[in-house]
Structures are given as C-alpha cells and as structure tokens.
C-alpha cells in the first residue's frame, strides 16, 4: 500500500476541513450572526493558501500517480484560492438580503466546488479528472439555483444542470473508449499507449467526445449556449465563479488531457480546436454587441475570451517542442489574466447591483458621477478585457498573438486582432455610458468594504501585471506540464 503524502494534499485537506466546519458551525449560528460564515470560509481559504505556500517549488506524486503536485498544479491552485478569496468577498454583501439564512449552505457549496477545482489541477488520471469535474459542477448547479424565489434563477439551474450532465455523459463515453484503447486511465500511460498505436479513428472520435465535455466547461462554441442563460439567471457572485473558476478548472483539465494524454495526437485535435476557437471568439464577440444586460454581456465576453484561450491549443498541431511550450504558456497566462479582469468586472456588477438588481447596461449611465472610483475601476477592467495596453489583458492577447505568429498561423492572429476590435466596441460602449451619459439617479451607491477589497485585489493584479508583464516569465514557462 502506497504511503499517502499528506503534505502534498494539505491545502485540499484544509479546504475540506473548512467546508465541514462551515456546515457544522452554521447550525449553531443565530440568524443575526450568519455573516460569520463568510469569515470562516475566508479563513479556511487563507489557511489553504498558507499550506500551498509551503509547497512552492515542490514536485510530488502520491495516490499511485493519480495526484501530482507540480508547478502547473501549484499555479492553478494559487489561482483558484485567490479567486475563492475574491468570490467570498463578493458574496459577503450579496448574501445579506433574502439569502441571509442559507449562507452556510452557500459557502459550503462554494468551497466544495473550489475543492473540486483544486483537485482538477492535480488530477493525472481520467477517473480523478471525472470526479473533480463533477465536484466542480454539481455544487455549481445548486448554486445557480440559489435564489429559489426567482424563476430566472431556477431556470438557470435547470439549463446548467441538463447541459452539464449531458456533456459529462458524452465525455465519459469518450473516456470509456480511451480506457479500452489504452488499457489504462493514467494520463501519462494513455499518452504512451496512444503514441504507440498511431492514427486510429476510434481514438480521434474518443478525443473529440472528451473535448466536447471540456468544451462545455470552458463554454466554447457550440457547447456554450447554457452560459449566457445561466450567468444571467444565477446570483451574480455565482456567475462570477462560473465564468472564472469553473472555466479555469475546465482549462486546467483540458490542458492536462491535451498535452499529457493526447500529446501525440496534436495533428488530430489541433486544427479542430483552431476552428473551434475562431468560432468561439467570433460568435461571443458579435452576439455581445447586441446585449442590454451587463451580466449577459459579460457572459458573451467570457465566451469570446474562451476562444482566445483555446487559440494557442489550435496552433500546436505538428509543431516542435519550443512552439508547444510557447503555446502552452500563452494559454495559461491568458487564463490567469482573464480570471482577474473578469472577476473585477463582476465585482463592480455586484456593487452596482446593490441599487439596480436587474443589471442592465443602462444602469451604468453616469456611474462616473455616482461612484467615480467604481467607474474608474470598471473602466480599467473593461479596457483590460478589450486588450488595451498597458493593462494585463493586452499582454495576454499579445502572448497568444505571438504564439500564433511564431507557429506560422498568421491567419489566426489576424482573426484574433479583428475580434479584439469588435470587442473594443462593446466594452467601450459600457465605458461611454459610465462617462458620457448623465445618471438618472445621481445618489452614490455605497460600496461596502469587502467589495472594495475584492475590486482592489483584481485591479492591482490587472494594473501591476500590465506594467510589469515580465512577471509571467518567472513562472509561466516553468509551469509547463509537457516535459519537453
């Protein structure tokens, strides 16, 4: 029996402890003290973060190769925990209305989902990947329907659930076939077995079924339809969680599967993903142009960004190690940067939603008068999402662009540039509303401290990374799964 490396799983253990603690403590909290749940959750996340710091630079394998701790998984775990902190900060105020009494369950489910995401980053086995994926999804289905009295919220949960379960069934079918072909569920062993086997239509079909499952998770076209409906209906912090942590978890899984298990089949999935990414960014951006609801706009924008993140994976087909590494780093960096800018935008939406719960874009008219700081922060997030230098989003796009150019697929780079211009229109139209239109109701909104902190964290990352993009060079290529 293999000894268990408890240190390697310490962050996950702390997180599980925290979620059990939240569930139990909540039982004894009087109605007035329910807000303590958020403090407890935040402490748990910070504890896990602390444990994670002790693991920096380590490379450990435990549970028979099923759980691997390396720079890749560390990077994602830091991301997930940082996102968790921000989401908890966002939720603290949001939950103070009708949802007050079920705060304990909310944080419990949120932590379970984050625990799944943490496991996802380390999962090097199809079985583990599947369990982690479900662990991210199942609590998220429930969270999406958390506003029980709001028919839009229940509808969001239903759609999310049906499409989610359906795509995991599709993915599982692919996994079962891969298991049959490779006779193993370990990603590295699958990679070796598939390399030996060569081209086989069954293998490509299975890969495609598995990619469809991840396509749902990262909301790539045409697996994206649930996303706008669900984001709009779900509580805003949950939408933020879905568009950031859940999507990043999907990418964590996708990158591992693509490079570890299917690294020998790049010519089979590369071109397909390239076309998928083009469709994703184009449809996301074009449809975003017509939106009137800010959350829906951000949903389509997050679809478009999934396209940008997928693009590096689309250019690796038949490329050498250097390009593969570059593409990998580009995708990874994009996910990191996107997470913070999108989270920041959602945090602003939560803040504005305090007064205007319908989240219409027209609610942002004159925001610069009502809350100058909030408007400025939102402007920064929007500009970063649009890829305006010198903010973080620009560098992310630049890296992806560079990967496309260096791999000789300049047409993809051109499509991306055009898409960025389309994106600029709708991001800046929100900016123009904030700065160039009068406010209907000029009274200030009042942003509570946790939200200020959440926005500040995101803003600092977006601006700091924008000014010091070199930051990435310290770890992004180092976080290369592919030992090339």
């Amino acid at each position: 029996m293999p000894a268990i490396d408890y240190h390697a799983v310490a962050p996950e253990l702390i997180l599980s402890g925290a979620l059990i603690a939240v569930l139990c403590v909540d039982l004894f909290l009087p109605e007035k003290r329910k807000a303590w749940n958020s403090t407890l959750t935040a402490l748990g996340v910070l504890g896990a973060l602390g444990a994670l710091f002790t693991l920096v630079g380590e490379r450990r394998t435990t549970f028979g190769g099923m759980f691997v701790l390396d720079s890749f998984s560390l990077l994602f775990k830091f991301l997930f925990l940082a996102v968790a902190v921000v989401v908890v900060l966002m939720s603290a105020d949001y939950l103070n209305d009708s949802l007050r009494s079920s705060q304990g369950e909310f944080y419990f489910l949120l932590l379970s989902s984050f625990l799944g995401a943490m496991l996802m980053a380390s999962a090097r086995d199809l079985l583990m990947l599947f369990v982690a994926l479900e662990m991210v999804s199942v609590p998220a289905f429930l969270l999406a329907g958390f506003r029980k009295t709001d028919p839009r919220s229940t509808e969001a949960a239903l759609k999310f659930f049906l499409i989610g379960v359906l795509s995991s069934a599709v993915m599982l079918f692919g996994m079962s076939l891969i298991y049959g072909v490779a006779q193993s569920t370990n990603l590295a062993e699958i990679g070796a077995a598939l390399k030996a086997r060569g081209d086989d239509p069954l293998v490509t079909a299975s890969i495609m079924l598995i990619l469809a499952g991840f396509g749902f998770k990262v909301s790539a076209v045409p697996f994206h339809f649930w996303a706008p409906d669900t984001y709009e209906g779900a509580p805003v912090p949950v939408a933020a969680f879905l568009s950031v942590a859940s999507k990043a978890a999907g990418f964590a899984g996708l990158l591992q599967v693509a490079f570890l298990a299917f690294g020998g089949q790049t010519t089979a999935w590369g071109p397909g993903l390239a076309i998928l990414s083009v469709a994703t960014m184009t449809i996301g951006n074009v449809v975003a142009l017509t939106q009137t609801n800010i959350v829906r706009l951000l949903a389509y924008s997050s679809i478009a960004h999934a396209g940008y993140m997928l693009m590096p994976l689309g250019v690796v087909a038949g490329q050498g190690a250097a390009i593969q590494r570059q593409a990998f780093a580009a995708s990874l960096t994009y996910i990191l940067v996107y997470s913070f800018m999108n989270l920041g935008a959602f945090a602003v939406v939560v803040a504005v939603g305090r007064k205007r719960p319908w989240n219409l874009i027209s609610d942002y008219e004159g925001l610069s008068e009502r809350e100058p700081g909030l408007a400025l922060a939102m402007l920064f997030f929007l500009l970063s999402l649009a890829g305006i230098p010198p903010l973080a989003g620009f560098w992310a796009k630049f890296l992806v662009f560079g990967a496309a150019i260096d791999s000789g697929t300049a047409w993809l780079a051109a499509v991306m540039v055009l898409n960025s211009v389309v994106g600029l229109y709708y991001y800046l139209s929100v900016g123009a509303k904030m700065y160039l239109r009068p406010a209907e109701d000029p009274s200030p909104i009042g942003v509570p401290v946790p939200l200020v902190v959440a926005i500040a964290v995101a803003l600092i990352v977006v601006v700091a990374v924008g000014v010091f993009p070199d930051f990435f060079n310290h770890f992004a290529p180092g976080a290369t799964l592919i030992a090339l």
């Binding site: 759609k159 017509t290 305006i388 230098p389 560098w395 630049f398 800046l428 070199d470």
Partner: protein, 631 residues
Amino acid sequence: MVAVLLAHEEAHATAQAAGFFAGNAWLIPALPFVAVGVIVFFGKRFRGKGAEVGIAATSISWLLSVIILVTRYVGGGGPVVLRSVRWFPLGRDLGLGLGMRLDGLTSIMFVVVTTVSLLVQIYSLGYMHGDRRYTWYYAALNIFTGSMLNLVIADNLMQLLIGWELVGICSYLLIGHWWEEKPNSDAAIKAFITTKTGDIPFLIGVFVLFAAARTFNITEIIHQVEDGNLSHVTLTAAAILLFGGAIGKSAQFPLHVWLPDAMAGPTPVSALIHAATMVTAGVFLVARLFPVFEASPQALNEVALIGAFTMLLAALLAMVQDDIKRVLAYSTVSQLAYMMAALGVGAGNAGIFHLFTHAWFKALLFLGAGSVIHAVHSNNMSEMGGLRKFMPHTYRTFLIGSVALAGIPPLAGFWSKDEILTEAFRVGARTIPAHGSPVVGSIVYGVGIVTAFLTAFYMSRAVHLTFQGEYRGHGRPHESPATMTGPLWVLAGLSLVAGFAGFPGWQKGFGAWVGVGGETRVPEAHLLLIAVSVVVALAGIGLGRALYARVPARDPLLRLGWFHTLLVNKYYLDEFYMRGIVRPIRDRVSAAIGTRKGGGILRYLQSGDVQRYAAALFAGVAILAFLFTKF
C-alpha cells in the same frame, strides 16, 4: 517604475554620446503622466485644483523640448538618438520595449505639442474657470499630452500604437466633456466609431509590417525597407493599410466627418487636440514611416490624391458654416490635407513644415474663437459682429491668425503653404525626381491653388462676420482676462515669425533639422509661383471683403443655388453613412444574429430552449468529428 525599467536598460551607444538632455528626452513624455497621478490623487487639495500641477509639468517638458531642439537641430541637425529598455521579451523574436527615437521630426513635434499644450492649459485657467469637472479636465489634458508625446517619441510600432489609442481615448473623453447634453456625447461616440473604422486597417497594417519584418522596431523596419528585404507588394499593402489609420486620425476623406462634430468639446480642447496635435498624428505617422510609403508609388499617389481631394472638399464646406468653430474645423481638415498631399508628392519636409506653422495659427484661431464664444455665449457668427470694438486683443490676434492661414507673406502660413505648392509644381513639371507620378503633382498644385483662394475667402468671411459691422448678439460682450489673451499674443507672435524657419534657400533651415525620410532638401523660391499664390490669396480676401464688409441680410453664397444646398448638407455624406452604411449594416447584423426585437440565427439558436442547446452540442460533436477525422 522608471527606476526599474532603467535597471534593465540596454542602452545604445548613441545615448551616451547624445548629451544629457537628448539622452533623457524620455522625461518629456513622462512628466505629464507624473502630473496626472498627482492631479488625480491630490488635485482637489491644491489651491488651483490641480491646474498648476499640469502647467508646471508641461512647462518643464516644454523647456526640455526647446533646449533639445535648439541645441541639437536648429542649424543643421544632429545624430539620431536611440535608446530603449526591454519591457517584455517573448518567444523567438517577438519582444516589446519602451524606447525613444529622437530625431529632428521628434524634436519638432515635441516643441509643437508642449507649446500648444502649455498655452492651452494656461488659457483654460480662464476659460474653464468654475467648471464642475475642472480637476478632471486638467488630468485628461495631461494624459493627452503625455500620450501624444509618447506617440511621437516611440521607437516601435507597439509603443506608437499605445500612444495612438490613448490620445484617441482622451479625445473622446474631452469631446464629451460636457456630456450632460446628448449631442456632445453623440459627437464623442461618432468620433470614436469613425476613427476606429480607420484604425482597423491601421492595426492590420502594423501586423503586416510586423509579419514581414518580424520586428516592431521602427528603425529596424526602415533599415529593412532600405535594404530591399521586403517585397513591393507587402510594402504597398502595409502602406495603404497604415494610411487608413492616418485617414481616420487626421480626418481625411472619407472619414473626415467626425472632426466638425468634435467641436462639441470645450474650445481649448479643440485647439489642442483637434487642431494642433492629435489630428496631426496621421500626418506624423506617414512622415515617421515615410520610407515605407516611398517604396510604393501607388501608396504615395493614394496619399496625394486623398489629400488633394480632401483639401478642396473641406475648404468648400468651410465657406458656408455659421458656427465659427466649424469654419475652423473644416479649415483644419483642409490644411491637414495639404500636409498629406505634400507627403504624397514626396515633399515630406514641406508637409511637416506646414504642420509646424499650422499648429501656431490654427491654435491661435481656435483660442481666439474660444475667447469670442466666452464673451457672446454663442458659437454662431450670425449672433456676433462688431466685436472689434469690444475685444481689441482678440480681434488683433485673430486677424493675425487669419492672415497667416490665408497665406499672406511674411506670415507663417505663407512660407509653408508656398513650399508645398512649389514642390508639387516641380513634381508636376518633372524638374525634380519624385516617387509619385507627375500627373498627381500637377493635380495637387492645381487643387492647392484653388484651395488657397477658398481659404483666404472663408477666413475673410469669418473675420468680417465676427468682428466688423454691428453687434447682433445679446448682452454686452467684454474682453477676456489676461490668462486668455496672453496665450493669444504668444501664438500670434509665433504665427508672425515661425515661417522664417523654412526660409527658401537657407541651407540649414527647417528641412535640414527635420529631414523626413532622411532627406534634407533645401526649399527653393520660385518667384512666379510666389506671385501666383499671393495674388490668389489677396483675391480671396478681397472677395470676402466685397461680399461681407457690410453684413448682408442674405448670405450671398445662397446665389450658388443647389450647390449651396449641397454644401450646407455636407454633401449628404452623414446621411449617406447613416442610411447607406451604418443602418443597413446594423439592421442586417441584428437581423442575422437577432436582437431582442428581431429574429435571426441567434433567436433560433439561443432560443432559451435547453434541448435545442443539447442538439447544438451534438451538432458540435459531429462537426468536430468531421474536422478531426477529415472524412
């Protein structure tokens, strides 16, 4: 941050030899940005609400600019100073840096930008006094100044692009400064959309150049062009695409429509951004990448013809405007077109010389108009008249600006305009070798002469309608305070003398300092051509005087009949864009993808029916299967 950047510096050898001021020219764009930080965070605590911070920073930048220009370039030029820090290395050969390329062109632009910015900021002390967003206004002006200076100093296209976008954003923000009134924010949005239309080809052009040269560095790109490493087709494509951006930014036909509407912004902003600096960015871009354009006669001809067409088109429109700022706006479009046309016929130095002189008298005219508007609270010349008595300083300076613009010697406009016309004539007459076609040279000369006549006419009209005759407005106008008239006199002085910088025959004159595309052609005087220009200008002024000396009850231009109607309606271009392009595209796009109102693909797919989503999911798997297995 600066310190960190310097720590990683990869200084070029020239930087050491350049001397302190030139070596540290990066301070010039950096200072306004520092000021922005101070204004945004502490501005309201200052006595002057942040204005003094901006003015102080810009003054230092101005001083540095002048020192650099005088010590290095006046009297025959100095070596190009290159210096850069790597900002973000990437991949095999991608990489971005912050860099500076200090040459004659840069230092001239520095002086233009900082001087006008400084004067405008001083002027705004009076003009914007008591504005509700006063502090923010100064912050925006300083972001603009810093960004424009960054655009000018940039040694690579990415950095240039950053400046390019930032000045654009500042421009929209400042056009919409008084956004409480809807037309103002509409104008800002129109400016945004129109210039962005030009920016799309511009972006693609940058990437075409990058893909071909595999570098963003301007100096290296130019070297590669000169070594003949890049194919003719690539360069033509790149040049034409890049020119798209210049058309948008410098308001050339067919994207000129945003500039007149941009007059919705505060008048000092118009003087700074929409007359003297940002709109010249397009001209600057062509000059900066002149070797790229030079390598492609087709592209050069396009530049020249667009310029020739725009100058006439806009000058005609300027004749029929009642809003004094719109007269000046169309005049700006027309004069920018002169600069473009000059570049198009290969006379880069003449074009930049005109940019230089134009900045002074056009900023002067705008600020003068602002002073008038400040006094009578209206933009319409039909509500002015007789202001000469009430506002002597404004009148005199405005008159100087007008005469300079009309092209009467020895004022500034005469020298630069005449140099452009002479060069165009000589290209047409084949007396100098040119890259473009001689026919194009002749066209530019011919249209240029007609435009010169029109320019003199509309300025004469504007001066008469505004300052002569009887006052037709409300209340009793009064002269503006010294913070406003002071800058007017400074600019008037510059408008009087700036032209001598390019005195024909002066070996070490303007052309030698600037040397667009590395060329230092000494301007030559051609007495017959000078005589023609002067006669034409005097004729224009005379006609204006004849028609408007006594303010007629009915505008005599109405006698032009249908042509007048056409002009008043701006050739129906706005309607054409709206009905012919914007609306059909918008309708078709929204019909295709579907909006909350219309039907379409989106309405079918994103129908809200989750099982249709599921069907699409399987369709996706099928498409993937097709792509993957390549049946």
